[in-house]
Amino acid sequence: MGEHRPQESAGSPGTVAPARIDIVGLTKRFLTPKGETFTAIRDVSLTVEPGEFCAIVGPTGCGKSTTLAQVSGLEHPSAGSVSVGGRLVDGVTNGVSYMFQTDSLFPWKTVLANVMMGPILLGTPRKEATELAMDWLRRVGLTGFEDRYPHQLSGGMRKRVSMAAALINNPRILLMDEPFGALDVQTKAIMQTELLQLWEDLRPSVLFITHDLDEAVALADKVVIMTSSPGTVKDVFDVDLPRPRGDVQQIRHEERFLEIQGRIWESLRDEVTRAYQQTAGAAA
């Protein structure tokens, strides 16, 4: 973890090849505080091609976030394996960026310092890191806000900062855990469109977790449906909407979109109903 990976040449996207993600027979068990074991995900197998945008959809508590944590290398699988670009994940994977539902910004750092964190942690000289961060702030439309603190920004602007911070290191893999879950509908649509534009420039492989099927279909090349307790992969659907997709809000009205969305919903509906009945049963 201490070793610094070689720094990609600053500001030139596409120098690092996106990596293929192979998840094979992945199982993760947790020890509850009482000492019992709890299986979060069982036997999950999944492949994300280099540069592919893969969305994972499923009911609450089906182990979507757990799957991401294994890919990032923050946690170790109980069984099975994850490999990125042909190399087995053991410890924190190189060239990965994470985006969470919470902004994950440092409230005590300015916008500029927040975006600079990635290059700084790689050992980039401060001057170079500043230039790179300024360029990224321009790309997400936040020029002039570099000296603000996160609490002085709106939710959508904070998301933009998070996006710049996640993409500045030109990651091979982008892991997104319901990144737009807490936004209002309009802001969400704008952020989705901007994410697609940025992604089309850099083309990292993406694993994108969401509850929102519309969001998954509008953004992804491939939608994976997961079932709950314990989490497993139920279905995989290809989304063959042409790229670049442009405005996310307009895709939603296209006939092809509705057709694909309808087919996937058939598969998802049973899971959502089952998960809901389980939680309702537990509450009663």
Binding site: G2, S72, F100, M117, L121
Partner: protein, 295 residues
Amino acid sequence: MTTMTTTQQAARSGVADKREIDMQAAGRRAHTRRTTWIWVGRIGAAVLILGGWQWFTAAGWVDKFFYGQPSGIWDSLVHLFTVGTAFGTIWENLWITVQEAFLGFLLGTVTGVVFGILLGSSRYLASVFGPYIKILNSIPRIVLGSIFIVAFGLGVFPKVLLAAVLVFFVVFFNAFQGVREVDPGLVANVRVLGASPLQVARHVTIPSAMTWIIASLHTAFGFAIIGALVAEVLGAQHGVGLIISQAQGNFDPDTVFACMVIVAVVTLVAEYLITLLEKSLLKWRPPSRSEAQAI
């Protein structure tokens, strides 16, 4: 026709402007009135308490031999600053006490922060040492002053030590809690970006715990002064605590009160400095409601 409408509009907007200005002026007047009354109340309360004390002792209803008298306290303050004490000028003694309190404050804060962050970041260490820290926290630590004086003599060191012991626990518990409250998402984020454990501490854990640590410093300085004073009362060759214990032996409550006033001023100055530090270190924080309505 057109000219008429424009003049009407101008007149109307003129009326609106005037109303706006009137409202702002009324708001300002209400604000001034409120501040005036607050100050009248404050000064009134001080006059009532000090005046009442002076009056009751002067009339003989309360014995000034035991309870002192405001005018007597003033006289003894003047005496302390012009004539001095049996142990040198008041400035020398005050300087020694402040030195002890400050060094104890520094020592206690540094050890408290270090231990708080260590135990806060390691679940294992926290489980091992948790019960001992609780036991140490529940013993009457002020009594340690006697042991320190027996062990280390009448010099400055035992006072620093007692002040540090009192400060340590306040700062320790806050630093510990502060580390526990760190957003796990932030930690995961920098770890994925390749941060070493040391970088995680530098960029996430310590700045995040800083809010809690700084909040504890206000109380901690008060404890440092108490530690230094009590240790001096227990046994010293210089210091405000010694003046207090001497005055107690001479049945001189006025000098005891005078020393209390002096120490209170020192504490207020320290408090002010800590607030300045807080403002500069925590300038990233959104202004809180309570600050806006300042009590």
